[in-house]
């Protein structure tokens, strides 16, 4: 950014100060503006794109600290320098607490002012550069709504891109929350069908008859309440992509119906006699081991082969931990907009916690944890305590229900974490005496958990 693009607003009730300061800074090539009071300064900040505000502390009406507070609430990126005639430690501390960049006593030493402005401009340029680089990096690591730099995911995305260009049926395999529908959407967007509909159906959410009429549609009078003809999802997705989630859960009858549609490329509405041609690309997904389900005789082998033309397996989040920082960035950007919250990022401690977590709910769980963090956070930087994750607790990712002792251990660890490691406070919350709590801490080896802020060994099942 050139100096001309750095816009500085001088706010002072004394005209001579506004004129002399803006005249001085103008010669550095900055674009200058002035405001004679707090109210017009706030209006100017809302209307214009100012990089730096130099604000007098004492002004009639809205004073400098109030301007600082209000501007920072809405425009955290604006650097604010407070000017005052008399320096008092108290005011300086208050200004800095409210987010002032610095505090300067009138009259200033020319060198001090020049260096301060240069420093602010330099830092703002770095922030902008950082933002551009991060965006570029994200572009490089993204496939539509999917961000990743993990080698495992790179293979997944490459296969997805190739598969997208074909008309073949795709089967996406992966645990809950790994992003199967998001990948399906990305494949659709990358395919020649991108401008046609993408229709998603969750097969597990509906009963057999409901799913049948949902997929194939029905004719008037097909069943009680069928007042008119309704087209099914196959027809709705005409020319586009039909995403059948949790395909492993459909009934044997529907398995057969689906097989027919896939073979004949025609659907017959429920209660109808005529079949209509359909042109849809099928992407199916399941978190089950479909091969095993076939072996057990619960899923038709012929349908399995029809669906399993191109199989893509999405890794668990713990298999792509290196993506966590990228995903955090990605989600915070989206959540910040959705929730109209100013968010700058998460603290190093919070990131360490996210990196160490077991993520049984995968990427979806990560998004939920960040959403919670954003709701709870009191500052634009989310702290570890905002996330609601207990160091050591895997969040119930094991396959078997936990024992009473495991639940007790987890709860004590959570309360200790909440109390910041303060045993007396934790004992009060748990309503037990300190000696009992110490005994339990020893029994469950929880001291290490708190002291090292690391996770106890994930429970093996």
């Amino acid at each position: 950014m050139s100096r001309k693009n750095t816009r500085i607003l001088i706010v002072d009730d004394e005209e001579i100060v506004r004129e002399s300061l803006s005249g001085w800074l103008e010669k550095d090539g900055y674009t200058l503006g002035t405001a004679p009071d707090g109210m017009s300064a706030l209006k100017a900040v809302d209307d214009g794109d100012w990089s730096i505000l130099v604000v007098d502390l004492k002004m009639p009406g809205i004073d400098g600290l109030e301007v600082l507070k209000r501007v920072k609430e809405k425009h955290a990126e604006v650097a604010i320098v407070i000017m005052t005639a008399f320096a008092t430690v108290d005011t300086a501390v208050r200004a800095m607490k409210l987010g002032a960049y610095d505090y300067i006593v009138k009259p200033f030493d020319p060198e001090e002012l020049t260096l301060m402005i240069q420093k602010i401009v330099g830092q703002q340029a770095l922030v902008r550069e950082n933002l551009i680089l991060r965006k570029a990096l994200r572009r490089e690591h993204r496939f539509h709504d999917i961000v990743s730099k993990s080698p495992l995911m790179r293979d997944v995305l490459e296969l997805s891109k190739t598969a997208a260009r074909s008309a073949s049926t795709i089967l996406i395999l992966g645990d809950s929350g790994t992003g199967k529908e998001i990948l399906a959407r990305a494949i659709h967007m990358e395919s020649p069908r991108a401008d046609k509909p993408f229709v998603a159906v969750s097969c597990a959410a509906l009963t057999e008859t409901l799913l049948e009429s949902e997929l194939f549609g029905y004719e008037k009078g097909a069943f009680t309440g069928a007042a008119g003809r309704r087209e099914g999802k196959f027809e709705a997705a005409s020319g586009g992509t039909l995403f059948l989630d949790e395909i492993g859960d459909i009934s044997p009858k529907l398995q057969l119906d689906l097989l027919r549609v896939l073979e004949e490329r025609r659907v017959t509405r429920v209660g109808g006699t005529e079949s209509v041609p359909v042109d849809v690309r099928i992407i199916a997904a399941t978190n089950r081991d479909l091969g095993k389900t076939v072996e057990e005789g619960k899923f038709r082998q012929d349908l399995y082969y029809r669906l399993n033309v191109i199989a893509i397996r999405l890794p668990r989040l713990t298999e792509r931990r290196e993506d966590i920082p990228l995903l955090v960035d990605h989600f915070l950007e989206h959540l910040g907009v959705e929730m109209s919250r100013d968010v700058e990022g998460i603290s190093a401690e919070a990131m360490a916690l996210l990196m160490a977590h077991d993520w049984p709910g995968n990427v979806r769980e990560l998004r939920n944890v960040l959403e919670r963090g954003l709701v709870v956070a009191k500052t634009p930087v989310i702290q570890a305590s905002d996330l609601g994750l207990v160091p050591g607790a895997s969040g119930g990712g094991s396959d078997r229900p936990a024992s009473l002792s495991e639940v007790e251990k987890r709860h004590i660890a959570a309360v200790l974490h909440h109390a910041g490691g303060n045993v007396s406070q934790a004992a009060r919350i748990l309503d037990i005496d300190r000696v009992t709590l110490y005994n339990k801490i020893r029994k469950f080896h929880l001291r290490d958990v708190e002291e090292h802020e690391t996770v106890a060994e994930p429970e093996k099942t």
């Binding site: 005249g23 010669k27 020319p110």
Partner: protein, 196 residues
């Protein structure tokens, strides 16, 4: 002299001829314009601020503008008075950006108070600052090119770090301004009545 830069000594002390000659030489070399030295008959006494014990440079600029000789291209006041603008503890000089008047003081260029000024060093510093402030009147802003006379001088260290010459880019900008000014002062030709 038409189109000359008028340089006026407006200090309380005696006008130092070698100092002012140095200023003239530098301005002539850098701006390739005639320079006319003059010792002003009176002084901008109203510019003195009793509370600060310094002279307000903005008032001196107004004073100079009101007295500039007819036809002079620019007017530069040179003084030994310590200058300030209300927001700063001091300034070496000040100028009207894209304007007519500039002022430079020797008060802080000699070095720390009480130390003997090196006359040669003072002359060099003064010449640099005069080129700098006159540059502002031609619309030149602070420049980051190493050594350029238009680099910001917030301290003596800054003054000593630069040369008294304009960098290529500032020179080009100055030439543009001069060409535009020359065009503005050319007599307007009457369009030929038959030409359509």
């Amino acid at each position: 002299m038409k189109g000359a830069i008028a340089v006026w000594w407006i200090g309380a002390g005696r006008a130092e001829t070698p100092l002012l000659d140095g200023v003239r030489g530098s301005l002539e070399t850098e701006y390739r314009l005639p320079v006319r030295l003059h010792v002003a008959a009176d002084r901008p006494v109203d510019a003195y601020d009793v509370r600060r014990g310094q002279h307000a440079s903005a008032k001196i600029l107004s004073w100079l503008s009101g007295r500039a000789p007819a036809g002079s291209r620019r007017i530069l006041g040179v003084t030994d008075a310590d200058l300030f603008i209300p927001i700063l503890t001091f300034v070496f000089g000040e100028a009207e950006l894209h304007g007519h008047a500039a002022v430079v003081s020797t008060a802080r260029l000699a070095g720390l108070e009480g130390t003997m000024a090196d006359p040669e060093l003072l002359a060099i510093r003064l010449a640099k600052e005069c080129v700098h402030e006159v540059g502002h009147t031609f619309g030149l802003i602070h420049c980051r090119a190493p050594g350029c006379a238009m680099a910001r001088s917030a301290s003596l260290r800054d003054v000593d770090a630069k040369t008294g010459h304009l960098c290529a880019e500032c020179r080009e900008r100055f030439d543009d301004v001069l060409t535009k000014e020359a065009r503005r002062h050319e007599p307007q030709e009457h369009p030929h009545p038959d030409r359509r």
